[in-house]
Symmetry: C2
């Protein structure tokens, strides 16, 4: 398998299915950020917390009437020979979209789908709609853009350098923790951070925000696969649809999906003007598109931290109304040439570094449960 010029051997692509059996209903593909689990509505069997519970419902993503597909990221569910021990291949969000398309091939899903993604998932969604237009009838891309901006790239580069410092010194846990802490400074809105934590008073050695950063840094370092972080972070910064504006528009002109662009003013990671830019460029090539502003103090993380408001917006936008239509003919679930059966006892192992569920299909029932961020 060749993705963006890289020959990937012994590819094991994995993902999960929820709701109506594949082939019997419209398909909704759900993709979150770098650290998102493939269980947006949770997974009772593995005890995985949902990260998008507000989007499950009769008028939004309804597992009773649609098939929900959730692909895994490379190294965190999906993998390939050499990924865990060779230099990390330089993939972009475009290649990640190709991997999702390959996974859909692997499980025999040819149904044109609604794709909804946020953050990295939103970026990959644009690539999916551009490179696989026949697979994508509707795209909801949240807090993403056509490209990263320079500040975002510089910030992610420094995050990767911190991880690599850790790899060099043998203290990768500190490197991962510091990278995550830097990330935390970009995920939330500035106004929220200004009111949420206390100040560095005379009697304190460190500001109150230190505990918040320590907590998130340690949790990330303990659980998240290092190579997946490096690959996905890099993939954001390598995301380009062309070397000049004309080339970008020529690529965008391939989009046949109706595109709903959602952005949050105050997003520090993918500023609102990047969503505006995406919308304008889609307009310029005649794509059916709309731009929706999500007013939230939570910045980039609004899709998680303010998801009730996002759900309201998506209802207003009527995004999932038409997914009640009949499903196209799809093949039954199949598996790629290297498929192995998914094993329930490994349900929580999606966070582990080398676990793979090749083209695995899992049914999961969304249960009301406390909201958790990935």
């Amino acid at each position: 398998m060749v993705v963006e010029g890289h020959a990937l051997a012994n590819v094991l692509l994995a993902g999960y299915v929820l709701g109506a059996p594949l082939g019997t209903a419209p398909v909704v593909i759900v993709v979150g950020g770098i650290t998102a689990s493939p269980f947006p509505f949770g997974d009772a069997a593995s005890g995985t917390e949902p990260w998008w519970p507000a989007l499950a419902g009769p008028d939004l993503i309804d597992p009773a009437r649609v098939t929900v597909l959730c692909p895994c990221w490379p190294g965190n569910g999906s993998t390939w020979q050499g990924f865990d021990d060779a230099p990390i291949p330089a993939l972009s969000a475009l290649g990640l979209a190709d991997l999702i398309a390959a996974w859909l091939d692997g499980i025999g899903c040819a149904t044109p789908a609604t794709y909804i993604g946020a953050s990295l998932g939103g970026l990959v969604g644009i690539a999916f709609a551009v490179r696989h237009p026949e697979r994508c009838t509707r795209l909801v891309t949240i807090s993403a853009g056509l490209r990263p901006d320079g500040w975002g790239t510089a910030t992610r580069h420094l995050q990767r350098e911190l991880v690599k410092d850790g790899l060099r010194t043998g203290d990768v846990a500190t490197g991962m923790a510091r990278a995550r802490q830097l990330g935390m400074l970009t995920y939330r809105g500035r106004d929220e951070l200004d009111t949420r934590f206390g100040v560095l008073e005379a009697g304190l050695a460190v500001p109150p925000v230190a505990a918040y950063l320590d907590h998130h840094g340690a949790r990330f370092a303990a659980k998240f696969p290092v190579r997946t972080f490096l690959l996905l972070s890099d993939a954001i910064d390598r995301c380009r649809f062309g070397t000049d504006p004309a080339a970008v528009r020529a690529e965008l002109a391939r989009v046949t999906a109706e595109v709903v662009v959602v952005g949050v003013p105050g997003d520090l990671l993918f500023p609102y003007h990047l969503q505006n830019e995406l919308y304008r460029e889609l307009q310029a090539v005649g794509a059916a598109c709309s731009l929706w502003k999500l007013d939230s103090e939570f910045g980039h993380d609004a899709f998680l931290a303010d998801q009730d408001r996002l759900a309201l917006l998506l209802r207003d936008a009527g995004v999932f109304v038409q997914t009640t239509g009949a499903a196209s003919s799809v093949a039954a679930c199949s598996s790629c040439s290297r498929a192995r059966p998914w094993r329930a006892r490994n349900a929580t192992a999606w966070r582990s570094r080398s676990r793979a569920w090749p083209c695995a299909i899992r049914r999961s029932r969304a249960a009301p449960s406390p909201r958790g961020s990935p």
Copy 2:
């Protein structure tokens, strides 16, 4: 000497004088950011580049008709017993203002002065006007505020953690470099960063911004005193004028100076709303104040990178027009109890870690030279 509750022994406070001899002319105190040298207009003897050349001139800061005083930061010119080997005392910008006042006492300067400061220097300037109103007839505070905001505090905390990681592992150079690189992400405007560097193309291992970050990180790590960085960074985050709004206003009510507040929309480190907040609070206590917006794509660093525009703004504001007045009576240059003579051969040593110029007075002639940032 006691500053903010800390007894500082064997205090060696230093600074430089430029222009008219002390006691013969109005006084202008110039204070820059954490890394600024005490030579805003350069120093030919030591080869130090000027960092504020655009502000030297007949209608701005004119050494021909004013005495320019530039205090040194602790550990970078000024020091005290124990600073270099004991735990770093928890000082705030308020304590730094007290140290400047003590230095003025030490050199026998009682002339009420115009204070102009940017970044940390701007923050300390507010404290100077609040705590030593009899010394400050006019204050120009640029890209600062009454307090840091939560995002800024979190970012500086992470910078300090990176330095401390380096101190723990013995690789403080990497810690200082990473801290500076994180700082670089806050100094410039986002739009500038988005257009200044190239993108992470397929053939590249790292984005083009990496060289910029590496350069600044290495330069900082090689030259800047670690303990001074930790102290000054902490001092920003400890800057509070009171524990509640009423207490803050009670302190601000002590200001008798005419205050010119300058801010840059797009400043990532001290966002413009902090300058707006400062201006509103000064208004609320009846202080003579004005708010000036410096439109620049350079964000926090506009006071350096767009200094011609800043100079124009300060001319418009008429800030230095009245400093042509007669000087108050001041004592001749004296020195504190531990004074040692300044030695010309150490002119470049202001960057070294433990070099002290106790209450040293140096005459320097501003020469037209290429603009350099500190």
